[in-house]
C-alpha cells in the first residue's frame, strides 16, 4: 500500500471509554472496539497524514515495535475498517475531511 491517506467517515459515532475507542457505524449499526494502538491511528486519520508517517511518528515512539512490522499491521487494520465504511482510504490527501471531536473518558 503506497501513499495511503486515511480519513474518518463522517457517518460514525466514536467515544473513548477508558483505554478503548468505541465506534459505531450509522450505516449498519456495527459496534467496534479499538485497542489503544488502533485508536491512535483512528485519531490521526485526518485525511492529510500518510499512514506511514502516522506509524512512524505516533506508533513507533509509543510502542517498541519495528516500523515495517507496525506498518504491515496498520495496513491490515485500516483495510478492515475501510471495508466496514469506518475509514476512507486514498492514495492522495482526502480533501474536506474535517476532524470530528471525540470526547475522552
Amino acid at each position: 500500500m503506497k501513499n495511503c491517506y486515511l480519513a474518518r467517515s463522517r457517518a460514525v459515532a466514536a467515544r473513548q471509554i477508558g483505554e478503548e475507542m468505541i465506534i459505531m457505524s450509522a450505516a449498519d449499526s456495527t459496534l467496534f472496539s479499538l485497542n489503544p494502538v488502533a485508536a491512535l491511528i483512528w485519531q490521526a486519520a485526518d485525511g492529510q497524514t500518510p499512514l506511514a508517517r502516522i506509524v512512524r511518528d505516533r506508533i513507533c515512539p509509543e510502542y517498541e515495535v519495528e516500523p515495517e512490522e507496525a506498518l504491515r499491521d496498520a495496513e491490515e487494520f485500516v483495510a478492515e475498517l475501510a471495508a466496514h465504511g469506518i475509514l476512507m482510504i486514498a492514495e492522495s490527501p482526502i480533501l474536506g475531511s474535517s476532524p470530528i471531536t471525540v470526547g475522552t473518558r
Binding site: R10, A13, R15, M24, A26, F32, T101, G103, T104
Partner: protein, 365 residues
C-alpha cells in the same frame, strides 16, 4: 458476551454515563391520549444551553444520545442540535412522530448521520391512530414521513404502544413496518404522567389481553422461554442492579433537570445550576439509586421472579417506594408465567390497583 454487553459492563465499572435521553421540548403537534407529559413549553433550554450541555455529555463519555420530546422537530433549531451532536460524535437516535418529515428533512437527518429514528405508530387504521393522536390525518402524514426516511436509507423503527384502543391492530402495524422495510417494536407500556396523574392508566391492556400478547408467536420469538417458570435465584441475581437507570444512563428534561430515567422522575440536579459531571458523580439521589441491589428490595427480594422480572424502579418510585414492587411488572410476571408474585401477595397486584399500576415490558422484534 457481546461487545455491547462488554461496553455496558466497562461503563458501569468506570462510572461512565454511556447513554443520555434528552427531551428538547415538551411541545407536541399531537395530543396522544396515553401521553405522560404535560405540553408546557415555557422556559425550555436555549440552543446555546443545549450546545453547552452536549459538550459536557461528550466530555463525560456519553456515547448514545436519544433526542426526543414532545415532538423534537417542532423546535426550529432541532436540526442544528442534531448536527452539533453529530459533530461531537454521539450516536444519535431520534424519536419523532414524523408528521413534519418530508424529503428535505429526511435527507438532512441522513446527512447528519443519525443512526436510527423511532416513530410511534398505533394502528394501520387511520380512524384508530388519529383518534389516539387527536391529530386528523396524522397516520397518513406519519407514514409519508417514514417513506421519505426509508428512501434516504435511514434505519426506522415503528414503535407500537399497545393499549385498549388499539389492542387488535398490532399485526397491521407489523405489516406496515414490513412494507416500509422498518423494524417493529411493541410496547404495552402505559405509565402515569410525570406529574403523578394516573387516570391514563385505565388505557392499559387488561391482564387477559396482555396474556395473549405475551403468548403470541408473531410477537415473541420463543414463547416457551419468554413465559417459562422462574428459575433458581443465585447470588449473582441478588447482587444485581435493577437496570441501567442512574448507573450508565440518565434523562434530561427540556428544563435541564436530570433524572435517572425518563420513567423515573426523581430530580437529581439541574444543568442550569450544576455541571453535568458534578451531578453524575455527586448527586445524593443518584448515589442512592446506585446503592440498591436486588437483595435490598423490600418485597421483591423474596420473590421467585427476582431473576426474570422486568421490575422498573422508576415505576416503583412513582408508586411510592423505589425499593418496592412495581405492580404492573408484578402483573406482567404473573401473566407471563402464571406464578403469583411476592408483590401481589403483599397487595401490590396491578389488576387490583389500576390507579397505580403500569406496564413495562418491551418486546423487540
Amino acid at each position: 458476551m457481546s461487545l455491547m454487553e462488554q461496553l455496558n459492563r466497562k461503563a458501569l465499572g468506570l462510572g461512565v454515563p454511556l447513554s443520555v435521553h434528552l427531551d428538547v421540548t415538551y411541545h407536541c403537534n399531537e395530543r396522544c391520549e396515553h401521553c405522560y407529559l404535560e405540553h408546557d413549553g415555557t422556559n425550555e433550554l436555549t440552543t446555546a444551553e443545549i450546545r453547552n450541555f452536549l459538550r459536557q455529555f461528550a466530555d463525560a463519555g456519553v456515547f448514545f444520545l436519544t433526542i426526543s420530546g414532545g415532538e423534537p422537530l417542532l423546535r426550529r433549531d432541532c436540526f442544528e442540535i442534531i448536527e452539533f451532536a453529530r459533530e461531537l460524535s454521539f450516536n444519535v437516535k431520534l424519536k419523532t412522530n414524523a408528521v413534519l418529515v418530508r424529503e428535505k428533512e429526511a435527507r438532512r437527518l441522513r446527512e447528519a448521520g443519525v443512526e436510527q429514528v423511532q416513530v410511534s405508530v398505533y394502528s394501520h387504521k387511520p380512524e384508530v391512530h388519529d383518534a389516539i393522536t387527536k391529530l386528523p390525518g396524522s397516520l397518513s402524514r406519519t407514514l409519508a414521513g417514514i417513506r421519505c426516511m426509508r428512501a434516504e436509507g435511514l434505519k426506522v423503527t415503528l414503535a407500537n404502544v399497545l393499549m385498549r384502543n388499539n389492542a387488535q391492530d398490532y399485526a397491521g402495524v407489523q405489516a406496515l413496518a414490513a412494507e416500509s422495510g422498518s423494524h417493529y417494536t411493541l410496547d404495552p407500556t402505559i405509565t402515569p404522567m410525570l406529574n403523578g396523574e394516573s387516570s391514563i392508566l385505565s388505557l392499559r391492556l387488561p391482564p387477559e389481553e396482555l396474556r395473549g400478547v405475551f403468548h403470541d408467536e408473531r410477537l415473541v420469538e420463543n414463547v416457551q422461554d419468554f413465559c417459562a417458570l422462574p428459575g433458581p435465584i443465585d447470588d449473582e441475581i441478588r447482587e444485581g442492579i435493577p437496570c441501567s437507570a442512574g448507573h450508565t444512563s440518565c434523562y434530561v428534561s427540556p428544563w435541564g433537570d436530570v433524572y435517572p430515567c425518563v420513567q423515573f422522575p426523581l430530580v437529581c440536579g439541574n444543568l442550569r445550576e450544576t455541571p453535568f459531571s458534578e451531578i453524575w458523580a455527586n448527586s445524593a439521589q443518584l448515589i442512592e439509586v446506585r446503592s440498591i441491589r436486588a437483595k435490598h428490595l423490600s418485597t421483591c427480594s423474596s420473590c421467585s421472579h427476582l431473576g426474570t422480572c422486568t421490575r422498573c424502579p422508576g415505576l416503583a418510585f412513582m408508586e411510592g417506594n423505589m425499593r418496592g414492587p412495581s405492580s404492573a411488572d408484578c402483573e406482567k410476571s404473573y401473566v407471563r408465567t402464571g406464578v403469583v408474585t411476592a408483590g401481589m401477595l403483599a397487595g401490590h397486584s396491578g389488576s387490583a390497583r389500576v390507579s397505580s399500576g403500569t406496564a413495562l415490558v418491551q418486546i423487540q422484534l
